[in-house]
Amino acid sequence: MNSTYAPDAAIERTRFSRPQIVSLLGPLTAAAGVVWGILQPYRVTLLHPHGQGVWWLLVEPPLLVVLVGVAFSLVVARPLLIDLEEHGEASR
């Protein structure tokens, strides 16, 4: 029996899951930020802005995590998925 087919099958399996992983990274990160904001609402000073200093209003860790997730989805993941698809078609 020729065993060289097994790695090919593994690569094929991985290739199918790559776009899914790439497309999920950003939303999962943003969701983690949202969950953090729900668990620790006092960290989101926009919810109670009166009497807060400028830095407390600018730097809110759960919102930073959401921002990174959204920025990653729009700037990195979206064009990367297009390239991944093109590369997949080109290599077929």
């Binding site: 790439v22 990274l25 860790p61 995590v65 990195v76 590369h87």
Partner: protein, 194 residues
């Protein structure tokens, strides 16, 4: 007008998280796909270099002691060196893969600086605990960028490198100026706040 130290940690944590996610994506899709768009190959090395530059004002404005100044200054230097070397490599200006030794160097210098500049024991306060933890994380995880110099195509090593960066980001996001750690807070640390 100066932000709290914890806020600076959170801002850097956001940048580090972005770098970690880019590295993870690069490990998943492979370098060929990642570099299909010219701007993307400069993205995470550029952000790393910029964060090295931004560490200089941190050094200047958060000089609690000489050891803090040395620590922040050495991070700025090694992060700029590693980010700059990576920029040179992806651009093709630098050829030798041994330039990637700047990453394990950056990890070891950063880890050592974290441990050396934290004067308090692990359970003094959360920030002390995290400084020790971050230091040892960097020193132990230096094995991944070191191994990548000789196994640059290893997906597992690149994923481990990326996940290390993400873990560092989570640790930085957990930082508070004065807060307990596992119920421990030294009375010398001051009054905890949110």
């Amino acid at each position: 007008m100066k932000p709290h130290a914890e806020m600076v940690h959170w801002l850097f944590a956001a940048g580090i998280l972005f770098i970690g996610m880019c590295l993870l994506c690069e490990a998943i899709v492979g370098r060929a796909v990642w570099q299909m768009r010219p701007w993307r190959k400069y993205l995470w090395p550029g952000v790393a270099f910029a964060m090295g530059v931004l560490l200089w004002p941190v050094m200047a404005f958060f000089t609690n002691s000489a050891i803090h100044m040395y620590a922040h200054g050495s991070w700025a230097e090694v992060l700029m060196l590693a980010g700059g070397a990576e920029l040179g490599l992806v651009h093709g200006r630098l050829k030798s893969p041994y330039w990637r030794l700047t990453w394990p160097l950056a990890f070891v210098v950063t880890g050592t600086a974290f441990i050396v500049h934290e004067q308090n024991p692990w359970f003094f306060a959360r920030s002390a605990f995290l400084h020790h933890l971050l230091g040892w994380t960097f020193i132990v995880a230096a094995i991944f960028p070191l191994a990548l110099v000789w196994r640059p195509r290893s997906t597992a090593l690149r994923a481990c490198f990326a996940l290390t960066i993400c873990v560092v980001s989570v640790q930085l996001f957990s930082d508070r100026d004065v807060a307990p750690i596992f119920g421990h807070l030294s009375p010398l640390a001051g009054e905890p706040h949110r």
